[in-house]
């Protein structure tokens, strides 16, 4: 199939999609409309369960099973990446050259690390109250750890990042979510049902199981991103293919 022919097929497909999509837009409810039956009911249900951030309530209470699915996709893709980027037998590790970083950047990195970590934990902990939660806060925490590579040095990062515990934390986060859900079964309700007392509205302990599931997701996401980036960093900076690989295969 020539490139020209392929472009023609592509143009045809894109034009057809554009035409159909524009036609569909005309039939969609108008932007900013006042009718949101699902939204109104979700807000009502979240307030009944004393969860101030209704988005977290939808994620970790009303549709907690969906989030378990999403979390499993995350877990599986991390697993896949780890397998794909592992060191194979025909590769060896080299010690990366330290790259010069200006003193000013180094100082900033060391000061910003605890601040970023704190902000990440704050975002996770307040997930059921204000915007934020395990998914967002976990990524911020993982970014904080990597400030060591970005602003200081790769070897400084390696010292605070023994990979084993992070891999265990990743699995433990996923397991904690599943087990908290099973707690619902033990209490005689459905899987992932919100069985804990709902607490006082707009306090850290409100929302029943929402803060627990939120924290489990936070742990998993943070550990997952650290593990992911560790693999990419290892491949980009340390692992090298053997020179005689081509001859061995041929």
């Amino acid at each position: 199939m020539s490139r020209r022919f392929r472009l023609c097929v592509l143009a045809l497909g894109l034009l057809a999609f554009a035409a159909l999509f524009t036609a569909a837009c005309a039939e969609l409810p108008p932007f900013g409309g006042d009718r949101h039956p699902y939204g109104d009911r979700a807000v009502h249900a979240a307030l009944l369960r004393h969860t101030a951030n209704t988005v977290s309530a939808v994620n970790f209470d009303q549709r907690a099973l969906d989030t378990l699915g999403e979390e499993s996709i995350l877990f599986a893709s991390v697993l896949g990446t780890v397998v794909l980027l592992r060191q194979t037998s025909d590769e060896h590790r080299t010690v990366p050259k330290p790259s010069p970083v200006p003193d000013r950047t180094r100082r900033y990195g060391l000061l910003a690390l605890p601040v970023t970590l704190l902000i990440g934990l704050y975002v996770v902990a307040h997930g059921q109250l204000s915007p934020g939660g395990g998914f967002q806060g976990g990524v911020v925490v993982a970014t904080a750890v990597h400030l060591l590579y970005i602003a200081v040095d790769y070897r400084a990062l390696e010292r605070v990042r023994p990979l084993g515990p992070y891999e265990i934390a990743d699995a433990a986060g996923e397991a904690a979510y599943v087990l908290t859900g099973a707690g619902g079964l033990l209490a005689g309700a459905a899987y992932l049902a919100n069985v804990l007392p709902y607490g006082t509205f707009n306090t850290l302990s409100s929302g029943g199981t929402v803060p627990l599931l939120n924290a489990a997701v936070g742990v998993e996401v943070a550990a997952a991103v650290v593990v992911l980036l560790a693999r990419f960093l290892g491949q980009a900076l340390e692992i090298e293919g053997d020179e005689d690989r081509g001859e061995g295969k041929g």
């Binding site: 970014t143 992911l228 990419f232 980009a236 900076l237 090298e240």
Partner: protein, 93 residues
Amino acid sequence: MDDVLGGLALLFVAAAATAAVLNRDPARQALVLSLLGLGLAVLFTVLQAPDVGLSQLAVGSAITPLMILLTVRKVRRIGRGRQAEDDGKGRSR
């Protein structure tokens, strides 16, 4: 005022998406992608979805560019390794 803000954010996002696709060099694309992430975060906030905006910011500002740039570096290193290998073979023949 809401309409103006929303329109501006939408146009910014559309322009950033187009620019991200038209920058064919992956490293430079990563830079435009990070701007697209920032634009999306503003758009989500204007659409009153700060949770999603926060998610987009956390992922788009540092993690995704870092992964793309590390991949680019690895791919280039492989390319250089192959080049050196081929040169070596050519000389020995």
